[in-house]
């Protein structure tokens, strides 16, 4: 592998109770990239991230993380990776400062007090450092968790749905922070369900039933999928929605509040279907739009039948 590929894994496979959760998964993440990891619930995102950082042993596959063998060198990989778990996994009965000091000690860091002070200052938690971590709100817990997994200055950040259940302002701040780390050369692999976060990533890997269905630069994805869309507004929309579902040329009908986005791979037959609706219901307005990530990923997810089977 080249020095500039931080994650280079091939054929990672893992099953639980006879069911393949991750199947023949390949991933190449270049240094400094923010790599988005998308897919429906239960698609194997968490399992993949855990295999990359050595928390789960792959049954098959090989690869390097930070130039170290992912199967044999997991102890050394852990020293250079920051992993943020989906659930808050710091100690709720320790104070903010005690949590950071504990993690700093486990990594055997020099200038420990200085680093913890710096982390607290960056977090803006200097005044509340003696407060118990369990007393923090969701957004603050997530910021503390990020600070804890950054305290040993890892080269690779693995973030598993870091912004789930966090308010929009806190999510925005969180992403500003990720971009700052990226500018410093830190590589990030982040799983998310939010499309506004997906578009912030340089590249996106889409996984469903443990199989990678898409892996591309974010800007190239719409072209690659080739999805066309129309917006329909008016009132009432519900009968229109029912009418469009299953109509020829329509692959996806997605309701966005007071409008419907109708998408299809075939531009001509999609337009025909939309115009038929317009002809039958004069009160609706129709307008061609560019298919966004939201539509693209809902389209991808509706294609993957059920990940729990």
């Amino acid at each position: 592998m080249t020095q500039d590929t931080v994650i280079d894994v091939r054929g990672l496979t893992k099953s639980f109770g006879g069911r393949k959760v991750v199947d023949q998964f390949d991933l190449q993440v270049p240094r400094g990239a923010i790599y988005g990891f998308l897919g429906p619930n239960g698609s194997g995102k968490t399992t993949t991230i855990r295999m990359v950082c050595g928390l789960l042993k792959p049954e098959a596959g090989e690869g390097e993380v930070l130039g170290l063998d992912v199967l044999r060198d997991s102890a050394r990989i852990k020293e250079r990776v920051g992993y943020m778990t989906q659930k808050f996994s710091l100690y709720e009965d320790l104070s903010i400062r005690e949590n950071l000091e504990f993690i700093a000690r486990l990594y055997g860091l020099d200038r420990r007090v200085e680093r913890v002070d710096q982390a607290l200052a960056d977090l803006g938690l200097v005044e509340r450092q003696t407060q118990l971590a369990g007393k923090l709100s969701g957004g603050w817990k997530q910021r503390l968790a990020l600070a804890a997994c950054m305290i040993h200055e890892p080269e690779l950040l693995l973030l598993d749905e870091p912004t789930a259940g966090v308010d929009p302002k806190a999510r925005r701040d969180f992403w500003d922070q990720i971009r700052r780390y990226s500018a410093q050369g830190v590589t990030t692999l982040v799983s998310t369900h939010y499309m506004d976060e997906a578009v912030q990533c340089d590249s996106i890997a889409y996984i469903a039933y443990g199989k990678k269905l898409l892996d591309s630069r974010t800007s190239e994805i719409p072209k690659q999928i080739g999805l066309f869309a129309w917006r329909i507004t008016g009132h009432p929309l519900h009968p229109i929605e029912l009418e469009l579902k299953g109509a020829a040329g329509v692959d996806l009908v997605a309701r966005f509040g007071t409008e419907i986005h109708v998408c299809g791979k075939n531009a001509a037959s999609l337009e025909r279907a939309v115009r038929q609706v317009k002809a039958a219901h004069a009160y609706v307005e129709i307008e061609p739009i560019e298919a966004g990530f939201e539509e693209i990923f809902i389209y991808l997810m509706s294609g993957s039948i059920d990940n729990f089977q």
């Binding site: 855990r50 950082c53 050595g54 928390l55 789960l56 042993k57 102890a75 852990k78 020293e79 990776v81 992993y83 778990t85 659930k87 808050f88 996994s89 710091l90 100690y91 709720e92 993690i103 486990l106 990594y107 055997g108 804890a148």
Partner: protein
Amino acid sequence: MSGARFPVTRALLDLSWSRVFAVFLKELVQMRRDRPTFAIMIMMPIMQLVLFGYAINTDPRHLPAVIEMREDGPLTRAFLASLSASTYIDIVAIAHSSEEGEAMLRSGDASFLISIPEGFERRMVRGERPQILIAADASDPVAAGGAITAVQQVAQQAFAPEFDGALSFLARAPPPYEIVVHRRYNPAGVTSFNIVPALLGVILTMTMVMITSIALTREIERGTMENLLATPVRPLEVMIGKTTPYVFVGAIQVAIVLIVATLLFHIPFTGSLAAFLLAVTLFILANLMLGYLISTVARTQMQAMQMTFFIFLPSILLSGFMFPFRAMPVWAQTIGECLPITHFLRIVREIVLKGAGFADIADDMGPLALILLVLAALALLRFRRTLD
């Protein structure tokens, strides 16, 4: 007011049987899913029945005795033969000096020292009523009691057939010999002398095992294990780091028990303090490892607690704490030998009551150290480095 209370009572007693059934079904399903807890609930009564029914015997037999024979004649040989035939005592050695016999008594290799003095037969024939000396290890008064009575009967039965013909004049009451019993280490037979030092072992077993049994299960239940495993921390580091704080807790408990034992129960502390401290440290460590091993096996804190009780039961019943160890069948003694507390109880009684030092407790320190090492090794092997 009574009018206002009536609806409240009704609200409390109002119930729908279908909702009761819903809750009942849910509990049943959850109970069935938690296999280990279910297994322990089934195992517990079986274990108790077996232990109390077969293992526990308050009338100890086959107690080891050392015989100090200063005389070898037809009468003493008959006495020895009867002693050998008795089920109450097993002759484990014939001592050649009184020091040898005393040492065996102190180290616990023998529970009785029976001495027959020089010129026993000659003096008996002369009507001088010579003494048979029985020195009993009375640090466990229950264990000693039955056997002392038994030896007196054995003597009577052994000599009776010999007292015929020329010696028939000896078949009279009182018998032509005297049996003198010395209750060693606890002459007054005070039960607390036996129980209080042993309680230290029970207290340490209960608290140390219970506390460390949730060491890892708590991390898993709270979800903090994932974070811990993602750091470079090694299994041995987790084990040492997690158990060491409780060594101090154990030390405080030891201090409290010692102070109370001395001030309230006036337990004589006759042996080597250094030997005691070494033994108690080893014992605390063994218990911590036992608890830690449980925490690598149990998946929830609830399971850990139940496994702790599963260990605790034989620790009380099969260790010689509540019932005489030597009165148990061999299989129960074998289980007892595998428990840290069994060895600690012997050590602590030897040191506190019998004045023992390092040399006397070596035969129990070895097994205790071995148990500690095996438990630590098992716990390290069981520790899951991954979330698999």
